[in-house]
């Protein structure tokens, strides 16, 4: 049972990293958003599994939150936004896929190395989990950096935050996990609403963040 529990958790966490890579690979927004939904789904599963093996019922709440909010509501919302903006099949990258992937590999390796320095007596589950979570976080950040479009940056941020939730749930018996995940969901809601805001008031004709420069101060 112990071994199985470990393997499944390991599997789920690993697949989360994999999905992160898939996200990096996507270059169309709609596809990207779908991949993110998958990302959220896997997260929900892994959280649920953690809830099961730690028999910590409150974690189910987090899982449900992840499932409903991130895997369904947000993607749908984003899809509608990009459709309304007519950028759903826009290809926007700063760096080529190949390089991004390579860099991502490097990040994963880095996080592994860092985690292996941790003494093994911290139980392996948490340790591996944390390694993957770190990888996911870094990949999410990488995504935010390599994408020019606000929507994909939001997606990147959310996958980063998924990594956090993974880590938090992996941390056995950590208090406030639910609160934190709720707080983050609110944060994300803010961001999405922010995008809506920019869209609704006809100020920024595209929400490409690069366009914001026109309004940066001191440019004369």
């Amino acid at each position: 049972m112990r071994g199985l529990a470990f393997d499944v958790a390991h599997l789920l966490a690993g697949s989360l990293v994999l999905v992160s890579f898939m996200q990096l690979y996507q270059d169309r927004l709609s596809a990207l958003i779908n991949t993110f939904a998958l990302h959220a789904l896997v997260l929900a599963l892994s959280v649920a599994w953690q809830a099961y093996i730690q028999d910590a019922p409150h974690l189910y709440l987090t899982a449900a939150l992840a499932l409903v909010f991130k895997a369904i509501i947000i993607p749908v919302a984003l899809q509608r936004i990009i459709v309304r903006l007519g950028i759903h099949r826009e290809i926007e990258k700063v760096v080529g896929v190949g390089i991004t992937m390579l860099f991502g590999m490097g990040l994963v390796a880095l996080s592994m190395v860092l985690m292996l320095r941790v003494t093994a007596e911290a139980d392996p589950l948490a340790r591996e989990d944390l390694a993957f979570a770190l990888a996911v976080v870094l990949l999410g950040l990488l995504m935010m950096v390599t994408r020019r479009n606000a929507v994909s940056q939001v997606v990147g941020f959310m996958s980063l935050e998924n990594g956090l939730v993974l880590a938090a749930t992996g941390a056995k018996g950590m208090p406030l996990v639910v609160e934190i995940s709720v707080a983050f969901s609110i944060l994300i809601a803010f961001i999405v609403i922010g995008i809506f805001l920019f869209r609704i008031r006809e100020r920024f004709d595209t929400i490409d963040v690069g366009a914001l420069d026109r309004f940066r101060g001191e440019r004369t």
Binding site: A168, P175, L176, F184, L187, F198
Partner: protein
Amino acid sequence: MNFDAITAILLIPLAAAALLAVLPGYRITARLNVFAALLTCLAALTLLFGRPQAGAYFHVDDLNNVFILLTTFVGFTTSVFSASYIGHELESGRLTPTFLRFYHAMYQLLMFAMNLALVANNIGLMWVAVELATLTTVLMVGIYRTHEALEAAWKYFILGSVGIALALFGTIMVYMAARPVIGEGLDAMVWTVLVQRAGEFDPALLNLAFVFLLLGYGTKVGLAPLHAWLPDAHAEGPTPISAVLSGLLLNVALYALLRFKMLLAGNPGALSPGPLMVTMGLVSLVFASFMLYRRRDIKRMFAYSSIEHMGIITFAFGMGGPLANFAGLLHMGMHSLTKSAIFFAVGHIAHVKGTQKIADMGGLTETNPVLGWGLVLGVVAIAGLPPLGIFMSEFLVVSSTFAREPLLAIPLVFGILLALGALFLRVNSIAFGEPRGPTMASNASYVPMFTHLAIVFLAGVYLPGPLVTWLQNVAKLLG
């Protein structure tokens, strides 16, 4: 829990926020705002006489007591300033009554968040509080709804959120490090417990955690290269918020950082956090000093000077040791007071001149002597000239550093001199020379500004004994 000072400084702002959110009318709300801030300040003062013992969620020790007093006091004076400021905004129509209500509510909410972050004994709770503070300020920065304001808010928001995320990751890792030692559950996040047993934690995890915390909370502190949000947020938001941001929020974030630094210091196996902080401090200092030269917007300029001073403070705490820590604490307090005073002045100046562009200001000491000399005095203070408080702290930092690490003192001195040059280059053109630009009458109250400057001056020449011993204890605490 029984009603004590902590509850007071948390509940008063919260209740006030709720109340202000619904109350209409500028006069009442402004008054109420001031009143609530005053009450909070008084409640904080009672902490000097009796402190409730540490609970699982809240605690007060020498360290955060300093910060609480500072925060509540500056919060109060700023609310006084904001009363006169916001009135003008309302007349000039930059703010609508609804937004005004929202503004006051947010102000109190911010106060609550900061107090919470300060008294929190639980690192998770502290994180939540800092996040809350960030969000409220984001909303206030964007309150004018101009392109620039929204853009600044958006930038602040995104960078802030990333910072928050990193900080959370660090917090989680601290928990992971603590759990094997302390055991699962709440205790592993209670700071007082953590610091006692920090020695047994897994060093590698702690290091990793600190890196994330440094970057996460460092974003809020505004250390280069994480500073990007700070100048625009200061420049585009309402001036009271700039004052609170520079004077308080940065300190709160730094306070959080210090807490974790103490954890690491308690662990022999972990890397010493000093070098990291020293490096980031110096980078911020020199970078900000250079950035000061090209500024055209007066508020953005002083925002950069805040970065510079945060650099100095971080450097001081990074150096450690009784002298440097003492200097760091002193500098922190002096900087909050001075910088907020400067922003008070700047707010009025912006009203008088109807612009924030330095190019459109000139000869202020002639057109508005009180305001002009107030600004000059503030700049003199912030540039570290005697006989004001920052001179003392910079004296201690520089001299003690040069005695210990001569090579580190060189860039420090260089940065300080550079900043002084830039600041006076600008203040010369603002306060002296032929009067430039329009001049409207200002019905501002200069009381808050000069109160701060008076305190800074006093501290520069005379520090009361109890305060000194207190700060020295804190300095010891910081190791």
